[in-house]
Symmetry: C2
Subunit: 306 residues, 2 copies
């Protein structure tokens, strides 16, 4: 199966501590890489763990809090210094962050490749990137500031040709390309054999990855992430501190798990852990009680989307 | 002897790599702490190595290159979040960096303590901070952009009272405070005993620390740093790449050592190592051939100024 995986660069909340760095991930879909959030020090995590940045042309930033974007400028600056990059780099970010970051890049960097910033309306779900094999959609989240998640979806594969059936019908092999692409077959007597009889549905099930951080408990997003293969959901607090979660626009591990259950996702990955707790297994235990197929993020880990 | 030490947080050039983080130090002088430069990820280094930030009221930034200041905003933001700081924080930085950083702090942070930015004219040596026990001066450096180093100097201690001599002269103990502060003694018959006969010079030799990064070979600064106890001097390149050093406004390890020798400093600490070399001992070997009492910076180390 083609590659679809998530590299965890940082999964702590607010500021780096002895256990975790701030938010950042690399999402690898087939031959493309995407960065999602880029807190301070995230580039050092990439070099430390030996993750790759080839074919990284799009970076997605969820919101304008320092722990989610302040590593972006030095990382992009290093792409210039280290890789002598020439190809354009697209940065997708909430509208309110676009102008300040454009100012910073203009003031502090002289890049030798084009940087294209795309403002996101975080209030609505929209396809941001439509690639050959996959799409990236924004997911409206509910935080203290405009914020959205990102949904990476593989595209359906085309129907599969039934070669024996085609040959039995006397269809020349030179026509197979057109039929694979969806064409019907017109016999010499004018009869039309519909494509659905010449091909069969591909058994491949498109996979998907939803990144949802930062957000308070947000049932409004459940229809959009329904059936997602892997859901990353923030779990800043435990249920015992639900008042703090509500106050600061965050979720508890139990709320992340309840969302995963309601959306019937295949697997839940929790992160964005508050440094007030010194044991991540507490988050895992709380979430697994509600949604057993939950794993906890940690720096350097790679999670396959399967 | 009272504390005077340097904590190395990062000593690599340009961008973090598997060996080094970008520039940052804590300088501890008696009961005060100062930060010098603050590259990306420097706060994480403080927490990682367990260094302290108590009594840190002044931060000095040498120049406007990303690897020397881009960790400042998230670090200051964390002082607010973690320590609930209320006392003012002073940031000393080249004039050209003042307006952009004020914009960034206004845009990205809401601090609950006063932040006072002081622009430095990097072309002249000047006392920036005059404390009870020490001063901090700017050192004009020669880089591609306005840049200065910082010289931390302990103040001379006052002369020491000779109590037996004072008592023999019939001076009441209630007068000792005035004499310690420099007063002469007038005997009842009107004769004046000068202070120099009632006190003796303190044997304490004030110590000093000069931070010089980034700079090309810069003999103009030698008079200012003459006799410095500890000199941190950048050594981005080896002598074999002196053309690169000159092109980018940096020094070689040999040039750092030549400066230390010309300034007759007690000890040389080199750093700001380029990632093009994979062995720091090369820098050390080159410098020690010229100035034997040289040590190489490394993250987490503490160097005493003695």
């Amino acid at each position: 199966m083609e590659r679809f995986e998530v590299n965890i660069l940082g999964c702590g909340a607010a500021f780096p501590n002895q256990r975790h760095m701030t938010s950042g991930q690399l999402v690898c879909v087939h031959n493309e890489r995407f960065m999602v959030d880029c807190g301070e020090g995230i580039q050092a995590q990439i070099w430390k763990f030996g993750f790759k940045t080839a074919n990284l042309n799009h970076i997605f930033i969820s919101h304008a809090h320092v722990d989610h974007f302040y590593g972006l400028l030095p990382f992009v600056s290093s792409l210039d210094l280290i890789q002598n990059r020439k190809s354009p780099l697209h940065i997708w970010l909430p509208e309110d962050l676009k102008e300040p970051l454009e100012y910073d890049f203009t003031t502090y960097c002289k890049l030798s490749f084009p940087l294209l910033m795309h403002g996101i309306d975080t209030c609505k779900a929209a396809v941001l990137y439509d690639g050959r094999n996959m799409t990236v959609e924004s997911i409206p989240l509910n935080h203290r500031t405009p914020c959205c998640g990102f949904l990476f979806r593989e595209k359906k594969k085309p129907r599969v040709l039934l070669p024996q059936k085609c040959l039995a019908l006397g269809i020349p092999q030179t026509e197979f390309g057109r039929i694979k692409a969806g064409a019907d077959w017109r016999k010499p007597d004018g009869t039309v054999i519909p494509n659905s009889e010449l091909t069969t549905e591909c058994t491949f099930q498109p996979r998907s990855y939803a990144y949802c951080s930062d957000t308070s408990y947000n049932p409004a997003m459940i229809p959009q992430i329904q059936g997602t293969t892997l859901l990353y959901h923030e779990a800043t607090y435990l249920q015992s501190e639900i008042d703090q979660a509500e106050k600061y626009g965050h979720s508890t591990a139990a709320q992340a798990a309840a969302t995963a259950r309601a959306a019937a996702v295949k697997q839940l990955l929790i992160g964005h852990f508050s440094s007030r707790y010194d044991d991540d297994s507490l988050f895992l235990k709380e979430a697994q009680a509600i949604f057993p197929n939950t794993i906890a993020s940690n720096e350097g880990m790679t999670v396959e989307v399967v």
